[in-house]
């Protein structure tokens, strides 16, 4: 049996009142990729990711993640880890409490991994999460999302609050860990340079519509063919072309 696609969307749409956050989105992401979701602010990236983890249900179309309906039950929830934008944590709970939360609420919780991450980051488990810096908070939230050992890890702007050096380390650690555990990853950013480093599959979302989706190498090859050989284009230039074209 071939593994189910990571994400399959058919004419997916999401509307908040009159505002369309996502329109006619059709995607088919094969397993085994680190997927980058790029687009300007307000393009619908967060909406797509929230639909994928099941925090909310679409107003039209259908979505299936790892072959199941997002958020449909404890098993589906266990298979998908989600790190929301701004990396929310409980300010009054300590880091150790967050680990305990992860352990109590997840059958597949990997306590060794979580403790090791806390040690690597040189964090005091007794510290209240409200006292952490933005970057440390993001690390803690990521540790929670990854510690439940999901098959798919969805990260919404995970590096937005990190400085450039921390970004590099975070993404490196993420891709290594994903490769090691065979975890699929979808992460969003409005910075293409972040995604270029980590992703091998790209989705470009502009004003609620998907403009481009596919493996990075194939996108690049197709583009270079069209533009004529000899002029190596960067992924950043390519995506910018799409973003401008959509205006």
């Amino acid at each position: 049996m071939t593994p189910a696609p990571v994400l399959e969307a058919r004419a997916l749409g999401m509307q908040y009142g009159r505002r369309r956050a996502l329109t006619d989105c059709t995607l088919d992401i094969p397993p085994g990729h680190v997927v980058g979701l790029v687009g300007p602010n307000g393009a619908g990236k967060s909406t797509l990711l929230k639909l994928a983890c099941g925090i909310m249900s679409p107003t039209s179309g259908s979505i299936s993640v790892l072959g199941g309906t997002p958020g449909s039950g404890p098993e589906q929830l266990a298979r998908v880890g989600f790190l929301a934008q701004d990396a929310p944590v409980y300010p009054h709970l300590s880091i150790a409490d967050h680990l305990r939360l992860g352990a109590r609420l997840n059958g597949r919780w990997d306590q060794g991994f979580a403790e090791q991450r806390i040690a690597q980051l040189d964090l005091d488990p007794a510290q209240k999460a409200g006292r952490l810096s933005g970057g440390q908070r993001a690390q803690l939230a990521l540790m929670l999302a990854a510690g439940k050992r999901p098959d798919l890890l969805i990260l919404d702007e995970p590096v937005a609050s990190l400085d450039p050096l921390a970004r590099r380390g975070f993404l490196k650690q993420l891709t290594e860990s994903a490769a090691q555990h065979g975890t699929a990853v979808i992460l969003s950013s409005h910075l293409i340079s972040d995604l270029e480093q980590a992703c091998d599959y790209l989705i470009v979302l502009v004003s609620s519509r998907v403009r481009l989706a596919g493996p990075v190498d194939r996108i690049m090859a197709a583009h270079q063919e069209a533009a004529g050989t000899g002029t190596p284009t960067s992924l950043e230039d390519l995506v910018l072309t799409y973003l401008e074209g959509a205006r």
Partner: protein, 351 residues
């Protein structure tokens, strides 16, 4: 989930426990003093037949603390709704932590079930304990006053506070989920809870069970034993009102003016002769105050041949417990409906 519910509720539970412990200590100490004073007063007043005044004095002495404690018992459910209910979901939504906790391997239905059940239990238990303590504490005062139907007496004794707590808490949770912001949800919880309390107390409670109506004939014996006030209008066609005390322990809802044979209100001209004989001529055409010294008995004797009566609508004393339970159940059902609405809403939540 039980662990997380407890971990997040721990601080509030501690505050409640401290308040509860302080209230319990105060109630136990002063309650014993009150009991001793009551027993001593009874022992001294019964032989002298002066219990009315002595027990009135006891009630006056303790009316300050009694009112304060009643406010505490009445306020506890509201506080549970405001400080435990409203932030339960709204706080998560404000901090964005619902994104964290709803993406663990526990469905949000189960998350809500654990939180609702756990904290509701604490709210109901707190209100119940406070009510139990006050009901015990105020026992002698309630026995002396014989008033179990007053708003504060009925609302702050026995089982009704349990229903109020369940309702106020789920109201807070539901409003938090609806409004998504803690402070406005707190304010709305308080406002709606107060409105519901007033509505139920004033407009619903009297009709929870069909009231009994008795026609009390006006004669010497009823007037001598039950009359509290007699008033006849100055205008010849104006009404005549005689306030009669209801049965012991009954909750009198309404009394008609003095009625004649066909249930028609008797105009003051028809009773003028008797009235003048009792109260004299001139502007003083009414009697006030209890006791036969006012001449109610002779007024009754004079009025008896006219075959008059007063309709008293009331809830008999024996309905106290049925009404306590019915009202508690009513609030519990409202709370359950709100909880069901929360489950329905949280599954369709967006954001």
């Amino acid at each position: 989930m039980i662990w997380l519910t407890w971990r997040q509720f721990r601080a509030q539970a501690l505050v409640a426990a401290v308040i509860l412990a302080a209230a319990a200590a105060y109630l136990l100490v002063t309650g014993n003093q009150l009991r001793h004073a009551y027993a001593a007063d009874l022992a001294s007043c019964v032989p002298q037949n002066s219990c009315f005044g002595v027990l009135n004095g006891l009630q006056t002495d303790y009316s300050g603390p009694r009112q304060l404690l009643e406010y505490l018992v009445l306020g506890a459910p509201a506080l549970a709704g405001i400080f435990w209910g409203a932030p339960l979901i709204a706080g998560e939504l404000e901090r964005g932590t619902h994104h964290l906790v709803w993406n663990q391997s526990v469905t949000r239905t189960r998350w809500l079930a654990a939180k609702l059940a756990g904290v509701a239990l604490a709210a109901v238990a707190t209100a119940g304990l406070l009510s139990l303590l006050l009901t015990w504490w105020a026992g002698p005062l309630d026995a002396a006053s014989g008033n179990r139907w007053g708003t504060q007496a009925f609302n702050a004794r026995d089982v009704t506070p349990l229903g109020y707590a369940a309702f106020a808490f789920t109201l807070g949770v539901a409003l938090g989920l609806l409004v998504r912001r803690t402070v406005p949800a707190m304010a709305a919880t308080l406002a709606i809870f107060i409105v519901v309390q007033i509505l139920v107390t004033a407009a619903v409670r009297p009709h929870l069970m069909p009231a009994t109506t008795d026609a009390v004939a006006i004669n010497q014996s009823t007037m001598a034993s039950q009359a509290q006030r007699a008033d006849s209008s100055d205008a010849p066609t104006g009404p005549v009102t005689i306030d009669l005390a209801g049965q012991a322990g009954a909750w009198v809802l309404s009394e008609s003016p003095v009625l004649g044979g066909a249930g028609r209100p008797v105009p003051s001209s028809e009773v003028a002769t008797c009235w003048n004989r009792t109260f004299g001529q001139g502007p003083s055409r009414q009697g006030q105050g209890k006791g036969d010294s006012m001449g109610y008995g002779s007024l009754g004797a004079c009025l008896a041949p006219l075959d008059l009566h007063v309709d008293i609508t009331y809830q008999p004393a024996a309905r106290y417990w049925p009404l306590q339970w019915i009202e508690t159940a009513l609030y519990a059902v409202l709370g359950a409906l709100l909880a069901a609405a929360c489950f329905w809403r949280i599954r369709r939540f967006r954001g």
